[in-house]
Structure formats: structure tokens, C-alpha cells
Amino acid sequence: MDDRAARYLDAGSVQQRVRLLGGKEVLLDKEGFLWRPEDWTEGVAEALAAESGIETLSDEQWRVIRFLREYFSYYGRAPLNKDLKAGLNMSIMELECLFPEGIRRGARRVAGLPNPRMCSG
């Protein structure tokens, strides 16, 4: 058994953990995405953002977070790149640069959207 496989197997692909964030007990998956959407609060968002290196969320970052949440609430899925551009009137480059961990792993996580589990493998 190679070490990498063993580590992955031990960790489990959907490992969950309970944490106290923004004064609230939340359930996170192993990549730090909220497991229960209802756990999201602005305080949780600020705590998640702080962990990704954002000391204080700017107005621009809050605009992105609110757009992501509203879009997800309405369509039941995260916006595509073209939806983000149209809805926020920003380039993807600007958006990716706005969050240290980018859109998929950064903005979406702070906004409390589900883990995209994109096929990056």
C-alpha cells in the first residue's frame, strides 16, 4: 500500500468535523466547507474568511458573497463563470484575485455554498 493511498483511505473522503466559528457550532467537511447550509451566518463567513487570510471582508467581497448566496438560493446551484461575470460585472481574473483561495475554494466556502467537489483529479 503506498502511503498516499493509505492516508487518503484513513482520512475518508467525506470526513466531517464540528467547530466553533463566529460564536456558532458548525459542521464542516474535511475541506472546510459547511456541511449544513443552515449553519451559515455573517459571523461564520467572517471567521471562514479570516482563516483564508482575509482580515476584514470588504464591501466588494460581501457583494460577491451575497450574489453567490442569492444565486444558489434561486437556482439551486452555484453560478457558472459566465453567470458570475454577468451578475457581478467583474472579470473572473478580478474575482479570483479578490479571494486568496479563489472563487471555488474561497468565495464559495465563505458564502456557505456546498463543496463543489469538482473533478480536479
Partner: protein, 384 residues
Amino acid sequence: MIYLDNAATTFPKPASVLNRMLEKYLGMGVSPGRGSYDLATEAEAFVDDTRSRAAKFFGAPDPERVIFTSNATDALNIALQGMLKPGDHVVSTRLEHNSVLRPLYHLRLKGIIEYDLAPFDGSGFVDPSEIAAMIRPNTRLVVMTHASNVLGTVQRVSQVGEVCANAGVPLLIDAAQTAGVIPIDMGAWGLAGIAFTGHKSMLGPTGIGGLILSPETEIEPVRFGGTGVDSASPVHTETFPHRLECGTLNLLGIIGLYEAFSFLERETMESIRRREMALLSRLRDGLSRVSGVTLYCAEDLADHVGLLTANIRGMDPGKVGAILDGDFEIAVRVGLHCAPLVHESLATAPEGGVRFSLGPFNTEEDVDRAAFAMAEIANAVGRC
């Protein structure tokens, strides 16, 4: 959109292939070989013709050892689970896709096999002598990719075939990235098996692939069911190809494969490859001029297929891929490319890289725009 994800699946497919699929299926879309009526017999004959074309295409001696599968992963699963027995040892490589790594890992986890993985060198090639050194008395199979889906390096399979022949060990190759663009000769290379898919460089549809076996290859079925042959028996049919096929075949896919062979015969693999490699060279040169771009194993493209992987220093490949898509309308594949050990060896894990893969319908303008886009993104790293 500029589509540079042809190593995942070629897009678009030739219109002639798709049109003929529809036309043929409209007239013959019945269950091949399952009825006594003429159309079922005609459909079965068509399936057999496609087996013969596949055998000829891959230099295989027996069309009845052409097994239709869903894709290369399916073919590899049938082969690995059907060929290996408790106590067997397998040699493979660190270049493999999860289509090989995961079945091997599964079999090891179940306590059925042990395996060793040969490393690749700084240019992306596995030295056949590394494989020879790993062969043990109980080694029952060498399985390896013909071309890396991350690096594009075409492996020295015929030399590995000699190693295996000398050791009396069967050699199975994963031809997912080469079938349709690199000539493969089962007989001359001493291959026990070839796993291929129809939807990449073969230019056929998704959902069809194949496992081609040499007549000497010993394999047990791992799936059982209806074959249209000897239906009274509770025992699954032992004769090939039905021994490894069950359920109604994907006739639409098989028609697509047949038409893909026709397309490749008309256009010729040589001319498609020549064109793709000229574009790859142009892309490599364009990316090489971009400050901040790292290319992997792309110094010499002589033994490559039309793909390469790059990174922009200081930017996650996931971000690069999103920007290429959203701002430049360029589709690429980012991440680990289902080949985690390649990225581990390149020290690009866990983020992976940005893979550009070319197809027969790409143009010089496509690759120039890709290089331009990468330069724009690289320029933004300091500001991002």
C-alpha cells in the same frame, strides 16, 4: 470557445461520424444477434465487421478477441480483475491514470495481489530496464500506459514488450491517449492486451471502447449474464467475444466506432498527428516565452502526443483554469488529471497543473490565443 481539453474527450466529433451513426441506427437499431429476424442478423454482422476493423487497426490476430466495453477504464477493469489471481504480482508505473491505479489498489486491498510501480525519468519516460528489474518469479502482468495523460510522453512499449517476452510475463497497455493517433501493433509489440476508448483520438462517441486480447491471454469473466448464445446453460458462455461481454451491446457506439475507423482511414492518423504535433510545438514555444510559466517534460516533443501541462508560478491551477474559461473562453483541464502519482513525482500535488490538449480541429490561432491568455494571467500574478 477554444476547446483544448481533447485528452478528456475530443470535441467536436467529425460530423460525418455523427451523421452516419444516426442514419445507420435509424435503419438498424435492433439488438444485434439476439433475434432470428434479418435485421438482427444484419446488426450482428455489422458488429462483427467492426470487430474485424478494430483487430486490423490494432494489429490483433483474432477479431473474436475484440471485446466491446464502455471505455478504457471499463476494459482495464475487465482485464485486471479477469487476469489476476491470488498471490500474483504486477508491475506498473507511476505514470498511470487512476483507471489502472485504482483497480490495482482495490485488488491489493482485498489481499489478492501485490504490485510495484516503476518511476519515470525527468523527461517523462519509464526506462524499460526499471520494469525488468521489478519483475519477480510470481509477476503475472505488466500493465502500463502507452502515453501519459499528464505529460503526453509516449512510452517505449515495444521495448517493454521485449522485456516481458523474455520474462514470460503478459503486457497490457492502456491506449486511452494513443489509440487513433499513434499506430499500435499488438502482434509486433508482443502485447497480451490493449485497452482503448472510442471517444478520444479515435474521434468516436463516448460510451464505447474495447479490450483487445491476444489468443494466448488467459482471462476469466468478471461479469455474467445474457449473451444470446447457449441460453439454456446456467454457465456463462466460454467462447470469445461473448465470454467477456454480457447484456445488449452498445450498437450506437459500435456504429460510431466503425465510422471513426472510416474517418481515420480517410484523414490518416499520420496527417492528424503531424498537424497536432506542429500545433503542440507552437504552443510549447509560445508558453516557453511567457515569464512565470513552468512546463513539464516538454523540452523534446518527438515522442509525445498532442498535450502538455503547465503551471503559472504563484497561482493555483484551479484559478488559472477558471480565468482561461471565464475571461478568455479557453477550455482546459486543471488539477491532478486522475493521475495523482505523476503530480506527486512532479511536486505539483495537490493542486496539479493546467493541461492543454489538442485535437484535429484546433488551429494556430487557438494555440496562439492560449499562449497570449497565459501571458496575461502570468502578468497579473503580482497584482493578485
